[in-house]
Structures are given as C-alpha cells and as structure tokens.
Amino acid sequence: MKPITLMAHLVANYPDTSGCLAAAEALVDAGTAYLEVQIPFSDPSADGSSIMHACACGG
C-alpha cells in the first residue's frame, strides 16, 4: 500500500516574509510532501479564527 503523504497549509507572509519561508522550509525538511499556500484575504469567510488572524497579520 502507498504510504499516506502529508500536506501542510501556510498563510503567505505570516508572521513576516522570512518567518514564513523558514516555516515552509522546516515543514518540507520534516517530511511535508505538499505545501498549500494561502494568499491572505481581508474577508476569509470560510476560515476560522487562526487563519483569520494570520491573514490580518500577513496581509
């Protein structure tokens, strides 16, 4: 059976540009196969409070 691969989600530019890149690299180094990067939006109505907060900081 094929092993299940790991996908991670990031909000671009959160907490800042270098912090976001460092987090992305760490996720990949730790075995993340897919990295989903969300562009921060002022009105993320389908997201909860963590992503809302990240969007507000990253935007």
């Binding site: 939006f41 009105d43 109505s45 389908a46 909860g48 809302m52 935007g59």
Partner: protein, 425 residues
Amino acid sequence: MNSDQGYFGPYGGRYVPEVLLRAIEEIEAAFYGAIRAINDEGFNRELERLRHEFIGRPTPLLYAEHTSKLLGGADLFIKMEGLAHTGAHKINNAIGQALLAKRMGKKRIIAETGAGQHGLATAAACAKLGLPCTVYMGAVDVDRQQPNVATMELFGAQVVPVQSGSRTLKDAINEAFRDWAASFEDTFYVIGSALGPAPYPDMVRTFQSVVGREVKAQLAEFGRTPDALVACVGGGSNAIGFFEPYLNEEVPRLIGVEAGGRGPEPGNHAARMTGEGARTGIVHGYKSRFLLTEDGQVGQTHSISAGLDYPGIGPQLAALGRSGRLEFRRATDREALEALQFFARNEGVVFALESAHAGAAAINLVRSLPKGKTVVVNMSGRGDKDLFITAPLLRPREWEAFLRRELEALEQQRVGDTVPAGETR
C-alpha cells in the same frame, strides 16, 4: 424579474464553501416551493396575515405638498415604509424568511446586521414566530446603534459583537457564514440585503416587492403614474423591492443613491456605481461591484449611516446599473443630514439617515423637473434609531450635558445599590 440560474447578467452566482452548498440548495427548493404554491393554504396566506396584522401594511404614501410648493418643481410623494413595524422595510423580508425557516423545520435563526434594522426585524419576527435568534453585528455598529441592540435583546435575541476586520457589516456577514457552516443542519441564515449567494437576491427582492406593488396601487388612487422613483442603495434591499414592478418597463426613471460619505477619496465613502473606486469582485458568496484595494483586498468604507456603510452592492442592482435601467447618484453625509432636517421641518417626517440620502437626491430632482411630474422617494426607514448620531451633530452642547447627567444618575444609583441589605438608604 428573476435571475437566470442565479445570475443577473455578469453578476450574482453562488460562490460558497462546499460545506454550505447543500444547505443553500435546500433553501432554494423550499423558497420556490413556497412562493409558487399561490393557492397553498399555508405559506402565502400566513405571510399575508402577518403583513397586515404584525407589520402594519400597507404603509402610507404621503403627498409632500409643502416640499413640492417650496421647491417649485415636480410633485413629491413619500412612501412611508419607515412606519412598518420595527421602523423600516427590513421586516418584510425577515418575516418572509423566518416563516420559510419554520416551514422547513429549522429550529434556530441567525442574521447579520449593519444599522441594526435587519437584526431588529429578524429578532421581532423570531419572537413572533417562536424561534431562537442570534444576531451578528460589528462592534463599531453595536456602539453607533445602541437603541437597536437594546431592543433586539428585549425581543430575546442574542446579539454578538464582531471584533474582526473593520468591525462593521461586512465582518458581521463573515461571522454569520462561519456560524452557519457549523450549524446549517438545524439553523437558517436570514440575509437582509439583496445580496449573498443565489437564491438570496431573488428571495429578498420577492419579499420586498410588496413595497413597489403598494406604491403603484397608491399612486393610481391619486390618479397618477410615476416619472421617477428614488431610493438609497447600500446592499439594495429597499431599492430593489421599491423598483420591482417597473424593472421591465422603460419608465419611470429609477434612481439609486449611494453613500458619498465625507468625499470621493478611497475609504471616505461607499459608492460602488459612481466614481472610480469599485470593480468586479467576489465577496460574501456573490459576484458584483466592490470597493477593492489595488491588491484585491476589500477596501475601507465610510458613511454616516451604518446601513449604507458596505463595500458591495446587490448583483441585480449592479446589473441594472450596467444595462442603464438604473441611474446612480451619491449624497454626502452632510447632504443626508440636511435632507433629514428639511423633511422633518417641512413634512413632519423624520427619515432614517440611510433613507435621507434618497431624500437629498429627491430634493434636487424635484427642483429640476417641471410642474405636474411625479417623483416618489422611498423613506425606507424612520429616524428614531439615529438619535445618538444626529443629536451630537445637531445639538451638541445640550446632548453632552444630558449624557453627563445620565451618567451621574447611573453612578449615584450604583452607590445606592452597594448599601448592604438591611441598612436604610
């Protein structure tokens, strides 16, 4: 004039998270089932009864004779929609959707509100129909519309202040969608503006069109047909209901008035159809014209009236503006305030600040048209709710002194309350 599969020309649609799709399809089926069953003993008869007994329909059409004489132009009529129960047209739709929710077997209602008029109407409808109700309201709006918050709570609704984003109507809508994504099994989301994912724009227009049908019949009693109709446009619920019987006709002129705010600079107004600030975007589940920043983020807006302080416009209104059937104007904060004073003094009628934007445009229009022409302005709401906004502007010193006395009285009462039981005061 229904949408074509949820679209009005290029605008409209149903851009929602997958999790909400089934809930919205369920509402669509129930809505068309209910309104098409014209001879159904249930829905339409109950709605008609509530319109008469609870809302107080029909609302009057007032001939504004002093205004017409003073301005020396066309004859002005005022549709007194603000005399509807809870003070605005919002109750027409709130009762309709709450009744639909009940018919669908839903056990809880949620709503968003800007000025508080839709929240108030929904809270009243829920109290009347026996449904629990939660209202999301931006924290900024909670402060500027305290009387409505107090009354919503009196109706038994839970009012949740929203602290995210600009803490106004758009953020309240986001929060209501967030609630609904987790609660749609037993919860109905009552949207108050003519916007959101399909079928909401069709649904809101259908329930609000009673306003336009009444105007048509009432003008006929005066032996008149209209040359122009004027309404304010935030999301657009009062305008689309008021204009509805005439959308497929070539006359009368239909004029929508947006919030010009403090001026034309970005962030100082909420004008989506006039000026350069807006373009096509997708927000809150529908495609329309929005005030967006260069990056595509939703822009800041300002209006003296909470009900017009919103970055988007209902998709059907945007489409009708694009096709040329609707003309758009804007009125500034100051012009709205002047119109409010004008109609209070000359007609004995206090417009809500939202509706006063339409009043300002109507004054200009009446002046520019010849005698004998007929203009109707929709006073979509009455102004009682705006006392905390108008009083500090119109009588600042007296208002401040009054508030100080009120605070002192409250503080003295608190000191009195802390006296231990058993002791005499």
